[in-house]
């Protein structure tokens, strides 16, 4: 089937079998191998990408269902020499060991911080109607869809905190 995906801001035409997952379309058809295949069943989060700005598991979606949709992968976030705040914070805080889960962790964190910005509550938010704080408990709950077999969680959480703080500061400066 003929489809067009807007991947990292660029329109990409594809001819795919209906069985091709969004993850395989990115990796095998568009050679964007930053998104990783871990479990391929939505349990590990290594394939996390942004679909129209929201984080999803690319392994549990069919490419043909996303004709016309906007996809952001880790390649679209930043590149060597021009890292995004999250990418830089992961490097700074050693938020990984083997690195296989890292693109998924970063894309998930990107989507998660946007959700927090919209005021979405989580399972650990004490009050559903309050604007949630970015506590360590909130980060851990909101990132539970991303596993790290090397168990680099302390570095991952710290990186997310640092990047969020930095982006928050940037926003305040821009507002002033």
């Amino acid at each position: 089937m003929q489809i067009t995906l807007t991947v990292n801001g660029e329109d990409r035409a594809l001819d795919v079998d209906p069985r091709v997952t969004l993850l395989d379309a990115l990796r095998e058809h568009l050679n964007l191998t930053g998104s990783k295949k871990g479990c391929d069943h939505g349990q590990c989060g290594a394939c996390t990408i942004l679909l129209n700005g929201r984080r999803i598991n690319a392994c549990l979606s069919l490419a043909v269902m996303h004709d016309g949709d906007e996809i952001t992968t880790i390649e679209g976030l930043g590149q060597p020499g021009n890292l995004s705040p999250l990418q830089a914070a992961f490097v700074q805080n050693d938020g990984y060991q083997c690195g296989y889960c890292t693109p998924g962790q970063i894309m998930s964190a990107k989507g998660m911080l946007a959700e927090l910005d919209m005021g979405w509550p989580s399972n650990v938010s004490a009050d559903l109607t309050d604007i949630p704080d970015l506590t360590r408990t909130e980060i851990r709950e909101r990132m539970s869809g991303n596993l790290c077999r090397c168990s680099a969680y302390p570095g991952i959480c710290q990186a997310i905190e640092d990047a969020a703080t930095e982006e928050g500061m940037t926003k305040r400066e821009a507002a002033e």
């Binding site: 598991n57 549990l60 043909v64 269902m65 998930s108 989507g111 959700e115 539970s144």
Partner: protein, 323 residues
């Protein structure tokens, strides 16, 4: 995955395809197709249909079938007036999955029984008549109420348990025309002799919305007990709406997850509580009624005392009884 034809429905008529299997978020169905537990020959993608709205209805709220689990959990009215639903949704799955999973799809998700998932094993739900190794096997997560001698699978949803406590009704557009709005106990079918039949949905039928009645006055809570604190299915969960006035219980709606093949509600349990003074002894009496017909299969025996303790804790919290 087995090969299949793919159709993107652009209107309701195309969605009512009796030869097709409906796909929306796909978070459960695609997984099942990868395992070849589900092998549809045709997928009908309904995600472009206009069913994404949450809107006030005459007496409550109408939730479009394509509303994502995250949008529903974060919706201002749901957070304020139906917190049990928001809490249940947020306790389920992960941020990524909730962004994709839909209201209709959540209701239609299949059991996570390990034997249903293992195609090398017999399973009466996958292949009626082939047997149920779960009965004498690994059944820690499986059901203790509403089962049959053919199947002890549980319905895995958290969302649906909260909806059951809220007296939600499911709007189904029938393939042959017409729309029905079904109470949840009329929508889900208990396993009986054929556990492959889980709902009254027929080929070509489409869930179009879920209706919530006006917000209840009582306090609401969702308590979920599971093996780890995030991203795990319920061993036992309780969705509760309870109110007291003048020291007596005046409202009680209780639904249970992890116990049965459908979100479980037993109004006899609520009758025990209504009009009475809340106490530990009263809560035990309510649990006795809930569990009168409970049957464990070894590995899941623990759920029977666990749900008693969970129910009592929830009732104590909501009525202010000190334990």
């Amino acid at each position: 995955m087995k090969p299949f034809d793919y159709v993107r429905a652009s209107d309701a008529a195309e969605a009512h395809d009796t030869a097709g299997r409906i796909i929306a978020g796909g978070t459960n169905l695609i997984d099942l197709m990868k395992h070849q537990i589900e092998t549809p020959s045709k997928l009908v993608d309904v995600t472009r249909l206009d069913m994404h709205e949450i809107a006030p209805s005459d007496d409550g709220l109408r939730i479009g079938a394509l509303v994502s689990n995250s949008d529903l959990a974060a919706h201002d009215t749901v957070r304020r007036d139906y917190p049990v639903l928001s809490r249940a949704l947020l306790s389920g799955a992960t941020g990524q999955l909730r962004n994709k999973a839909t209201t209709g799809g959540n209701l239609m998700q299949r059991t996570r029984c390990p034997y249903f998932y293992d195609t090398a094993q017999p399973c009466n739900k996958r292949q009626p008549g082939s047997g149920c190794p779960a009965m004498a096997g690994v059944n820690r997560i499986l059901a203790v109420l509403g089962t049959s001698d053919q199947c002890i699978a549980t319905h895995p949803s958290d969302m649906a348990v909260a909806m059951r406590a809220l007296d939600a009704r499911i709007e189904v557009a029938r393939a042959g025309g017409g729309t029905e709005t079904l109470p949840m106990d009329d929508f889900y079918v208990l396993p009986g002799d054929d556990p492959s039949v889980e709902t009254v949905m027929q080929p070509g039928d489409l869930i179009t919305a879920v209706h919530l009645p006006s917000a209840p006055t009582g306090h609401q809570t969702y308590r979920k007990v599971r093996d780890r604190s995030s991203y795990a299915f319920a061993l036992v969960s309780v969705a509760a709406v309870v109110d007291t006035d003048g020291g007596k219980i005046t409202e009680a709606a209780l639904a249970f997850g992890g116990l049965a093949p459908r979100p479980w509600r037993d109004t006899d349990v609520e009758q025990v509580l209504l009009g009475e003074t809340p106490s530990d002894a009263l809560f035990d009496k309510a649990a006795d009624v809930l569990l009168a017909d409970a049957k464990g299969h070894g590995g899941n025996d623990f759920k029977i005392p666990l749900v008693r303790r969970t129910l009592k804790a929830v009732l104590a919290d909501l009525t202010g009884v000190t334990r």
